[in-house]
Subunit: 186 residues, 2 copies
């Protein structure tokens, strides 16, 4: 059992992922998550709209890491701007987050509905990055492609990072994936 | 009203898209689609698991266009293989399909649940292309990035093709998007 953090939202999240991991996403009810976290169902719904949302709650803070890094970047080429954004996003995955990210991803991979939500969230980040690149003067088509290619690079790194037995750091895996993208057209 | 094709599945699809377009996806029931298409509800469920599936029914045939073209390609570089796959997929969008594709996309854009499904279907195609590239000897990371970049290119072309007022052919838009990807890393 993970140690309970003081913050209620974070505690609900960890409790839910523990329960989903051990008993399956579909089998666990909101009432059970609330009880295991020592709060009422009503408290659960103060933080999350539904059971699925527990797994996607950090999305705004997560996206902001990419967008803030892009806004701060001195680079001018579309790909260099995207690379800066990805390095910003990568700070969301320090080593101590790996066990939780791995457990969360296994839960998501077990359910089509969760995979759909996850896929849409990635799409929303791509759209936000595209808009940010256009704001920096990148033409729309190049912006969209750079954002989508960047998302692909990040996804490759993330998938490797949460896979069993992988112990390289997120940033190492991101560097490898960026190099692979660059060599794709070489 | 679109002319009714002889094939029942195709007729149900066109009828559903007409109804979704005029009254909104959520407001239309399966019973209404069946009635408007002149069949029973039971017949509807012989072709589709649910209302949402009507919009995603061609997926296997669609994916096969990409995968068959990739399998037939003489190219060896990951990107050239992907380009062959995209050109195969592009044959799914001749000019006469544009009004239907445009109507379908508007319905999808109107609903988070449909966008989630659409996003997941794109992800499934990326996975299938990645596997096909690995089968052709491309290393996994390069295969994944090439497939995802290719999907991005295709998505850019498709989004332009179904946008109001766009009259360039799908293949012209695909060529433009491929050129933009190439220049991204130049």
């Amino acid at each position: 059992m993970t140690r309970w953090p003081a913050d209620t939202q974070e505690r609900l999240k960890r409790t839910a992922i523990d329960l989903f991991s051990s008993r399956g996403f579909d089998a666990v009810t909101v009432a059970e998550i609330a009880e295991a976290a020592g709060v009422t169902e009503r408290t659960f719904f103060r933080y999350f709209g539904d059971k699925r949302e527990v797994l996607f709650t950090d999305q705004n803070a997560y996206n902001a890491l990419f967008l803030d890094a892009l806004a701060d970047a001195d680079a001018t080429s579309p790909l260099a701007l995207v690379e800066a954004a990805l390095r910003g996003g990568g700070t969301f995955f320090p080593e101590q987050r790996r066990p939780m990210s791995r457990a969360r991803q296994k839960v998501i991979d077990s359910s089509t509905a969760l995979l759909e939500r996850d896929s849409l969230k990635r799409g929303a980040l791509v759209d936000a990055l595209t808009t940010a690149l256009v704001t920096r003067g990148v033409p729309p088509v190049a912006a969209s492609l750079a954002a989508q290619s960047g998302s692909a690079v990040f996804h490759v790194a993330f998938t490797a990072w949460v896979s069993e037995g992988e112990d390289r750091s997120f940033i190492e895996l991101l560097d490898d994936a960026l190099a692979a993208l660059r060599s794709l057209l070489a």
